[in-house]
């Protein structure tokens, strides 16, 4: 069982479509990060969100942090084949310094 639940697990779409990926937990996060990972490599940081209700944009990617800091979403506009990869959310859960990842959303964008 993942402490951070991501949905959907898999997503296959056509180039030009929009999509949203969700990251949910029953815990409150002090901050949350989104990463993208390609096969054979470690995850690469996309963004950090720290304030409830915060919205950050990175070109065609929009990240939201829920008001209660228990959930986050990643929206991609006009997806391109280069967006294909595994998207992971990560956050501090509970007391201490456990830094946990969600189960990931595997995105495939077809040309």
């Amino acid at each position: 069982t993942q402490l951070l639940e991501q949905s959907p697990q898999f997503l296959s779409i056509q180039e030009g479509e929009n999509l949203t990926v969700y990251c949910n937990s029953s815990s409150v996060f002090s901050s949350l990060q989104w990463y993208r990972q390609e096969p054979g490599e470690g995850p690469v940081l996309l963004v950090t969100v720290v304030t409830g209700g915060e919205v950050k944009k990175l070109k065609r990617l929009t990240f939201q942090f829920g008001d209660a800091r228990k959930d986050s979403s990643l929206h991609i506009t006009a997806a391109q084949p280069g967006d294909t990869g595994l998207y992971l959310c990560a956050g501090e859960v509970g007391a201490g310094n456990m830094l946990t990842f969600g189960g990931g959303t595997r995105l495939m964008v077809k040309p």
């Binding site: 901050s31 950090t48 501090e92 456990m98 830094l99 946990t100 990931g104």
Partner: protein
């Protein structure tokens, strides 16, 4: 800077064998983490450390042990390898832990692909 260095890159073990996965970072980071990633899945936290001499269990610690005698090194030990431990293992480090206030990020090693047969 070399960043986070993991060795070996690949290893095949027989059931019941033991081995140590090495992880070294040269950034003077306090926080270090070991994760495992099964095919197509997210990362699961095995153990972590907030500084030399301090380690703690993550989500899936059974079958593993760690030590942190120096700031630089955080080895992961498998005592009795089992097929369920077949996975890719990532070591990561960060300076000030997960309470980020900037875009401070985790630095990842390149991973160790382990197969237990």
């Amino acid at each position: 800077n070399a960043g986070v260095t993991q060795t070996p890159k690949f290893r095949i073990l027989k059931i019941g064998q033991s081995m140590t996965l090495q992880c070294t970072q040269d950034m003077n980071h306090n926080y270090m983490y070991w994760y495992r990633q099964d095919p197509g899945m997210g990362l699961k936290l095995i153990y972590y450390s907030v500084g030399a001499g301090i380690t703690d269990k993550g989500e899936v610690p059974n079958g593993y042990n760690v030590s942190r005698s120096t700031t630089e090194d955080f080895p992961l030990r498998l005592e009795l390898a089992a097929p369920s431990q077949t996975s890719v293992y990532f070591c990561a480090s960060i300076q000030s832990g997960p309470r980020w206030r900037t875009n401070e990020k985790l630095f990842f090693g390149s991973g160790t692909q382990l197969s237990v047969l």
